[in-house]
């Protein structure tokens, strides 16, 4: 690992001021992704600002729902009584991710900020448009490895089928974020220009011409907390994750479902997918179609077909074009039954 300067912030204000002062500065939270990327020299920071002492780990009831502090650990959120009772989808998604050790380290804010696990992004000898320039050391400002997208025409079994560009077909790796997308979360951030609230669907972005940018945070902004609005999905929630082994692997495809059922009718529904796009992928059209309909397999199939309308395979990941709709149908069926 390259040497770097280490500072520790005890207030959000101090953390923001520290990251604004010098380029190549990164916040360090749980470190489960950043330290790994630093060891592989995908990210080479000039300075780390340790934010683990910030008082931002509270999980509390609010007038409109639940507020989860950015520094709350994944395991603390997954095991929290209010989360399990009112937002079981979030608990299920968290427990489907990583390992028990990593969930004890990883934070909510860090989970939102984690980078893709695309193998071309991780290997600095391979072409990638996402890595961007080196941030510190003698090569500062130079590209970190060759540009281009190695995954297009390469090994792309894990890659995107929605919303990709000619510059990047990587996927967002998070399970937690699929639940947050489905549950209409809001991200509270603070920065040099003040505080603002970002709707979850606008937090992560598609690669377009700028795959280096994963999200819409402005320079120097720090995530403070995530808000979840109250909902009626608790009795019919399900997170389905399809992966290469039974546990501790990233999703090939995952589906988060929340249903508000009355009798056999779907009053309201939320659907989001992981492993298929550069950001957590909400299935708005399928949701619209299912609203007010009966919970039948025929309707689920139609909804899945609508969701897959703009899907595009890149060769090795063509199997996702079948796996994804089947997973949507399967997840909807399971969510209908759970109570």
């Amino acid at each position: 690992m390259n040497p770097f300067q280490f500072t520790r912030a005890t207030t959000p204000k101090a953390a923001i001021s520290a990251i604004t002062k010098e380029s190549g500065t990164y916040f360090l939270a749980g470190g489960t992704n950043l330290i790994d990327l630093m060891k592989r020299e995908v990210i080479i920071p000039e300075r780390l600002v340790d934010i683990n002492k910030l008082p931002l780990a509270t999980i509390e009831k609010t007038a409109s729902g639940l507020r989860i502090g950015a520094m709350a650990k994944n395991s603390a959120v997954a095991d929290h009584e209010l989360v399990k009772k009112h937002f079981p989808l979030l608990s299920m998604a968290l427990n489907a991710g990583a390992s028990a050790q990593l969930r004890n380290m990883a934070t909510v804010g860090g989970n939102l900020m984690q980078r893709t696990r695309c193998s071309y992004f991780y290997d600095t000898s391979m072409p990638c448009n996402k890595r961007g320039p080196v941030q510190a050391g003698p090569d500062k400002g130079k590209p970190n490895g060759p540009s281009g997208c190695g995954a297009i025409g390469g090994f792309n079994r894990m890659h995107a089928i929605f919303g990709s560009s000619s510059k990047c077909i990587a996927v967002h790796p998070s399970d937690m974020c699929i639940a947050l997308a489905a549950l209409d979360a809001t991200v509270n951030v603070s920065g040099p220009k003040g505080d603002r609230r970002i709707p979850f669907s606008e937090f992560h972005r598609l690669p377009g011409e700028l795959p280096q940018k994963d999200n819409t945070l402005l320079p120097g902004e720090l995530i403070l907390s995530v808000d979840l609005p109250t909902n009626r999905f608790a009795d019919h929630s399900h997170y389905l994750k399809i992966r290469d082994r039974a546990s501790y692997a990233f999703a090939l495809v995952s589906v988060g479902v929340g249903l508000d059922m009355k009798g056999g009718m779907i009053q309201d529904v939320r659907l989001a997918m992981g492993g298929v796009a550069h950001k957590p992928w909400r299935l708005f059209e399928a949701e619209q179609f299912l609203k007010g309909k009966e919970a039948t397999e025929v309707n689920f199939k139609q909804a899945a077909a609508l969701a897959m309308k703009d899907a595009k395979g890149y060769g090795e990941n063509d199997f996702k074009l079948t796996l994804a709709p089947n997973s949507i149908i399967d997840a909807l069926k399971t969510a209908t039954k759970t109570a």
Binding site: R8, T11, D50, A100, Q101
Partner: protein
Amino acid sequence: MAQNEHPGDELEMPDASRRHFLKQSSALAALALAPTAAVKAVDTGWDQKIAAAFEQLPLQVTINGTVQNVSIEPRVTLLDLLREQLHLTGTKKGCDHGQCGACTVHVDGQRVNACLTLAMTTEGSNVTTIEGLATNDHGATARLHPMQEAFIKHDGFQCGYCTPGQIMSAVACIREGHADSPEEVREYMSGNICRCGAYANIVEAIMEVKQGGKKV
């Protein structure tokens, strides 16, 4: 939260002045050398050695009940601090990327991967390693932790390399309340890989300790 007009007071910058000196000395060294030679010096670790000499930060952390005051580079992981500086080699380095669980230790009671934990972030914490699990290890009443005994009884290992991590993880698994069935144990132990494939015996060992009801 108290609002402070001087953010610097809320930002601990250990040895900032020495860093400044290092930057200056690096700049001077760069001037004295041709650019390619300067880059080469970095490549051969020359600059890093200087960095190592100047960038030692103080850390206080309690390991297995003993307060340790050490001086480390900020890039040192908890795993390397344990093994290379404190010579607690029970904790193993497997993948060094958080994928195998061989380095599992407890920080303030929570199981974590020591390889992805910067030692500097454990300031003021209590760390327990495999060496700290047995009780009275120097006295006549010395005895292994029930989980260590169960691993021996059920042959929960072959080569033994993953075993310290498996045992630290297993103890935490029961303490967390995630060991109510073999299925649950398998799911909550998935962060510990055993290349010899002793999984069936590891699950048996954990289930026996759990069902035995002893305090772990």
